[in-house]
Structures are given as C-alpha cells and as structure tokens.
C-alpha cells in the first residue's frame, strides 16, 4: 500500500480546526521571517563579500548610533507584538476550551502498560478502542494503573497526560465521523510504541446500532450501587440511616462547604479522595467519622462508585436509592 509523502491528520473537531488556523498563521509569519533573514544574509554575503567594490562607509558615530537604536527598537517591538498575539490567541483557545460542557458524555479510561481500558457509563467496555457518537461532547476521565501515560489523538489536536493516583480530564466534540488513531504519548516503558488504539467517531445511526449490539453487562452506576451497599456506604449515607453522614443525592457538580470554611467542587476527584482519605476534607457540619477506604477499594471499585454517585446528581435524598438505575 502506498502512502502520500506528507499527510497531515484531518481536523475532526471544531477546536482542532481553530488550532489549525493558529498553526497556519504562525507558520506564515515564521516562513516570512525565515525567508527574510535568509534573503538578507545571502544578499549581504554576496554584496559585501571581500573584493566587491561597494560603498562600505557607515554613517558617522552620532547619527549612526541613533539610527541603530531605532532599528533595534523596531526589531524588538515588532516581534514582541507578534509574540503577544500568538500567546493570546493560543491561550484564549486553550482557556475557552478548558472546561467540558455539562452535557458531555462521560467515559472512563484506565491506562496501563501497555493498553487502554475504556468503560462507558452503561457498563460497556472496550480495549484499545473508543466508540463515540459524532456531534456530542465527550469527556474522558482518565487514570493510570502504573506509570504516566498520555492520551493523544492527532485528529483532535489534543492530548493529556494520565497519572497514577489521580484523575485527569480530556474532552472533545468530534464533528467529523471517521476512525482516528490514538497513541500513547508519554514514554511508558518497553511497549510504549505499541500502546496505540482507535477512536471511532460514528454517525448517530451507526452509534445506536453499536450501542444496541453492546453487552448486556450492567451499567457502571448499577455496579457502583452494588458496591455502595457491599462496602457499607449505604449504612451511613443511605436515606434511612441513623448515622449523621452527608447525603450524596443532588450534590454532584455543586460547590460544597468544608469544615475548615473552604468550598470544594463535588466532582469525580473529590469523590475519589473522600473515599480513600475522608479525613482530609470533612464536610461542614460533620465530624471525622468516616473510615478511610484506601487499600480496601480497587480502581475499578472507585470508577463504579463514582459513576453511581454521579447518577444521583438529579435525585433527591428521599427517593430510595437505586430506583433510577437500570
């Protein structure tokens, strides 16, 4: 099979297109500067080569100095102006796109040497593949089981490192259906270059068919509900519990007060930290009674529990828990 000599990846998201725009603008300016300097150097080298009979008199010292200063000031100010534009343009793009939208489809990614484990909210699992629908924001919540990895999709012009012991987030909204390479982009050991995969961006129909053909496995949230009961969480956090523990219904995504007066967002990272080491951030009005679960829950358990608690985002504390799950 023959390949074109140069093939830049397609830009599959609106963000990627904007990044391409910035790329070409910077390339245009840099090309002009390179050509300009190259031409100037070549011209000077030719015209002022030794033996060439040209006028080499420089202006007298005083006039020359002020002229030099003006020239230098220009070639300091002009690049600085361009740099400010490049900085602001790139920063703005990045800043605006930093926060995933609320309606983003959340998918968990666990990276390990040397493969990608993907878990959809409905429980569907994939290895080294990610199926997403077109025109739908997708938010990846990622963690590593071992070393630092990196989720890189050239077609989306984005990447994010994946760390052990933490969640990192990458989001995108592909608007162009297709199959795009996924490559690990943080050196992770012997199999680093083999840690590749594919992102399938599918049309609505194709995605529905794919969903329907999916496994009958219970959703992550359902599994999380089971875990919630098995580990005894419902003993304190359940609606009929007599223990004074904060309700988990209707708080996901909100800012919640802590006992030291500060506020924290009730997000996946907070849920994870609270399960592992609750003593570090105690909810306002409560005491340090929750036992830590570090060492008693696996990463998989954490994903499932987090998915379950997230599913309570729009429920009220009085409704029996689990009713909203399939």
């Amino acid at each position: 099979m023959s390949y074109p000599l140069v093939s830049l990846p397609v830009a599959a998201t609106p963000y990627a297109e904007k990044v391409e725009g910035l790329f070409w603008a910077v390339t245009g300016v840099c090309t002009l500067v390179t050509l300009g300097i190259a031409v100037a150097m070549t011209y000077f080298c030719f015209r002022y080569r030794s033996g060439a009979e040209v006028d080499r008199t420089l202006p007298d010292l005083a006039a020359g100095k002020s002229r030099s200063r003006r020239i230098e000031a220009t070639w300091i100010a002009v690049p600085f102006a361009f740099f400010l534009i490049f900085f602001a343009w790139g920063a703005k793009l990045y800043y605006v796109y930093d926060d995933p939208p609320d309606n983003a489809l959340q998918i968990f990614v666990t990276a390990k040497q040397w493969m990608w484990k993907v878990e959809h909210a409905d429980g569907r699992r994939e290895i080294n593949e990610l199926h997403v629908p077109v025109d739908q924001p997708v938010k990846l919540v990622m963690t590593s089981q071992d070393v630092i990895h990196d989720f890189y999709v050239p077609a989306f012009r984005e990447k994010r490192d994946i760390l052990p012991g933490r969640y990192t987030v990458l989001w995108f909204e592909p608007t162009l259906a297709g199959v795009y390479p996924l490559r690990c982009d943080e050196f992770c050991g012997t199999g680093h270059s083999m840690m590749t995969g594919r992102v399938y961006v599918m049309s609505r129909e194709a995605y529905s068919r794919w969903l329907a053909s999916g496994s009958q496995a219970p959703s992550l949230a359902r599994l999380g509900f089971d875990r919630f009961r098995e580990l005894g969480c419902s003993g304190c956090h359940g609606p009929s519990s007599r223990i004074h523990a904060p309700s988990l219904a209707g708080v996901y995504g909100q800012m919640v007060p802590l006992s030291d007066g500060s506020f924290v967002r009730f997000d996946d990272g907070y849920i994870r930290d609270s399960i592992l080491q609750p003593a570090r951030q105690i909810a306002a009005g409560y005491s340090n009674d929750m036992p830590p679960f570090a060492g008693r829950v696996s990463e998989q358990d954490l994903l499932e529990l987090t998915a379950y608690i997230r599913s309570l985002a729009n429920t009220s504390p009085d409704v029996p828990q689990g009713n909203h799950l399939q």
Partner: protein, 209 residues
C-alpha cells in the same frame, strides 16, 4: 598570580576567594532550596500527616543539637575575630571548641538516628506509624532523613575544614596577616548553622504548641 594583581602590587587572592565562596554559597542555597521546596509541597498536601509524624521526632535531641550548633557558630566567629585581632592562642582554642561542638552535634545526631531506627521511624520497611495518614507520615520521615543526612554531610565537610584550620593556626600558618582561610571556614560554618535554623522548626516543631 595574575598580571592584574602583580601590577597593582596587592594580593587579589582575598577578593578572589571571597567571590568564589559567595558563588559557592549561592549554589548551596539551591541545593538545600530544592529539598525545602520538596518538603513544602508535600507538606501542603499532607498537613495533618506531617504534624503527627513530626511529633514523633526527638525534640529534646533536636533542640540540644540546635543549641550545640548555634554555640559553635558563635565560637567560630569569635575564632576568626580573635585571629584578626592577633590573639592567636585564643583563636586556636576557639577553633578547638568549635570542632568539639561539631563532633558533638554529629554524635547526638547518630544517637538520635539510632533511636529513630529503634522506634521504627525509618519509612522504608517496618514503619511504626499506621492508619490512613501513613503515606504522608512516611513521606515526612523520608524528607527528615534526606534533609538531616544532607546537612550532616555538609557538617562533616565543615569538620574537615575546621580541623585543617586548627592545625594551621596551631603551627602559625594562619596568623593576623593571613586570616583569609579561617574567615572563609567561619563563613561556611555559618551556612551549615543557618541551614539547621531552618531545618529544626520544620522537622521538630510542626504543630508542637
């Protein structure tokens, strides 16, 4: 020496070595600075663990060492001053006291390490502290051993310098006319002391009120 120096008819040695020593001190600030930075970031993420772990350090021995080293800093400064004023014997004995105090510091430190090992405060292996904050507590003791170890190595180098100065003053190689080496040693010792001034509270006094 240099052309510059010979022409000027003075010995440029003094200012040369002094520039050199200030540069060296700047690099020392960066050495220890990095360790303090690592400590600070880790402590900011694990404040309770650090407080609890710090309570297990031997504050009595740490404070005793602080006293020992502050005193030695005074004696070495006096030793340099004495030499400048021509009091050769006084300088000799002050250097001897400084050296003794330095050795005492190391001895106390060794005794303290022995105790730490005995109490299973060495973070690798069988660590005494358990519970949910154990991770942070282990990291505290990791930094405790690394930072006090680095300090002890610098102090030992200082002991070598002091011994050298003692011998030099003793046999008259360093006199009122030739105080530079002793002054620079005193400056180095002051740095070793200053590092301990910062180490002591962050290792022994976290949340000890």
């Amino acid at each position: 020496m240099s052309v510059n120096a010979d022409l000027a008819g003075r010995r440029a040695n003094d200012s040369e070595s002094e520039v050199g020593l200030w540069v060296f001190l700047a690099s020392e600030v960066m050495f220890f600075g990095l360790l303090f930075y690592g400590y600070t970031i880790t402590r900011m993420a694990h404040p309770q663990a650090f407080a609890i772990a710090s309570a297990h350090t031997d504050v009595l021995l740490g404070s005793l060492n602080a006293l020992v080293i502050f005193t030695s800093s005074l004696t070495v400064a006096l030793a340099a001053r004495s030499l400048r004023l021509g009091a050769q014997r006084a300088s000799f004995w002050l250097l001897a006291v400084t050296l003794t105090l330095g050795v005492l510091f190391l001895a106390i430190k060794c005794y303290e390490y022995y105790g730490d090992i005995d109490k299973h405060l060495v973070p690798w292996g069988d660590f005494a502290l358990h519970g949910p904050l154990a991770g942070g507590e282990r990291m505290f003791f990791f930094m405790y051993f690394v930072m006090t170890g680095a300090h002890a190595i610098h102090l030992t180098v200082g002991l070598g310098l002091l011994a050298f100065m003692l011998a030099g003053v003793g046999r008259g190689a360093y006199t009122q006319k030739n105080t530079e080496a002793v002054e620079l040693t005193a400056l180095y010792w002051a740095v070793v002391d200053t590092v301990w001034i910062f180490l002591y509270p962050i290792l022994y006094l976290v949340h000890r009120s």
